[in-house]
Symmetry: C2
Subunit: 209 residues, 2 copies
């Protein structure tokens, strides 16, 4: 979980065969939903037999968990790294919000499964994922708290504001379409500005460094 | 579409039998996704034969369209009515955002189908629904524009801010759980305050009238 991550590749370190299964399953879940995608379709899309898929993931539920956990770990790692190079609360929040929103655009199919298939996970799988989610949320809470404590954020309700910032980022995966007028980086910049406005700071309207 | 609507009942005016089908289909689509729900399951949940369901809706696609269109018309009607009793830009936006966010909590299953099954609609159905969506969005744009023109909103990007306000409301249907600590009215109030903060107005922090 603290491994070096590739911000562009949620499957880094995964061998070619298993990766092909994950990518095919992700596409199927994002397109038809977990309950609408069959293991047989996934195997066909991966160019494998169902037996080859079952050799890696005993059930469709295991496959969903593998994808959801990898996605949750990836966005957590991206968020852990985002503010590291910054020192002021405004720059740190800007970088964190930027990378979180951009992740939901850049990896919008994975983000959809991460964000909209929570209820489809088995309870024991959901427990693992919920723990990863709360660590990501806590990163945002800490940065907001630091800014409030430093007197640079003037929000009257830090918790609600933090949830709203996360909510805006998550919703990107619903509407984002690659190749449209809005790019992941552009969305990241917009969200960073929206977050600073919500936090009540008179920030200079410059892009993240 | 300009008919009198019941804000609590998206199916008002629908007879008991057809209503039972719509409610059963909505529950199935919200729970398992459009592609994961079968017409047979829906008929069983409605206490009917598949033939009885087909007598009302020839295909599952027709059923999705009936639900999506009814939901889109309902939220549009709620939004058309929301600001009508208010005269100032701040009070009008507060009322509009309040009712939009509260709708996504109160009717969270319907909202999920409305917001997350757009891609599952047939193209000719999607066209109808997209037109209803753009009318709802236009209501928000008009109110924001009126406040900017009146000099009470100080947002530097009215379009992005409007999309963010809509986005926050939509995302309620993802996380809202009935019986939790957050109520539709409480969520409505919070969203109204968040929207006014995003719009850059020094509003008095009072609940909507």
């Amino acid at each position: 979980m603290t491994a070096i991550i590739d911000p562009d590749d949620p499957w880094s370190g995964t061998a070619a065969g298993p990766r092909r299964i994950l990518v095919a399953a992700l596409a199927a879940f994002a397109d038809r939903g977990y309950h609408g995608a069959s293991t047989r379709d996934i195997a066909a899309a991966a160019g494998m037999s169902p037996a080859a898929v079952y050799a890696h993931h005993r059930t469709k539920a295991d496959l969903l968990f593998a994808i959801s956990a990898a996605g949750h770990r990836h966005v957590l790692a991206v968020c852990e790294r985002a503010p590291a190079a910054e020192t002021t609360p405004i720059a740190r929040v800007r970088s964190l919000v930027h990378d979180y929103a951009a992740w939901h655009a850049r990896h919008h199919l994975l983000a959809r499964v991460v964000q909209y298939e929570l209820r489809s996970l088995l309870p024991e799988h959901r427990a693992v994922v919920v723990e990863l989610r709360s660590r990501t949320e806590e990163l945002f809470r800490e940065e907001v708290r630091a800014g409030v404590d430093a007197g640079v954020f003037h929000t009257t309700d830090a918790d609600e504001t933090t949830l709203a910032i996360l909510s805006l980022g998550i919703d990107v995966s619903r509407w984002y379409t690659p190749g449209g007028t809005r790019t992941p980086v552009g969305i990241g910049r917009t969200h960073a500005e929206l977050a600073l406005t919500l936090l009540g700071t008179d920030h200079p309207a410059s892009p993240p460094s």
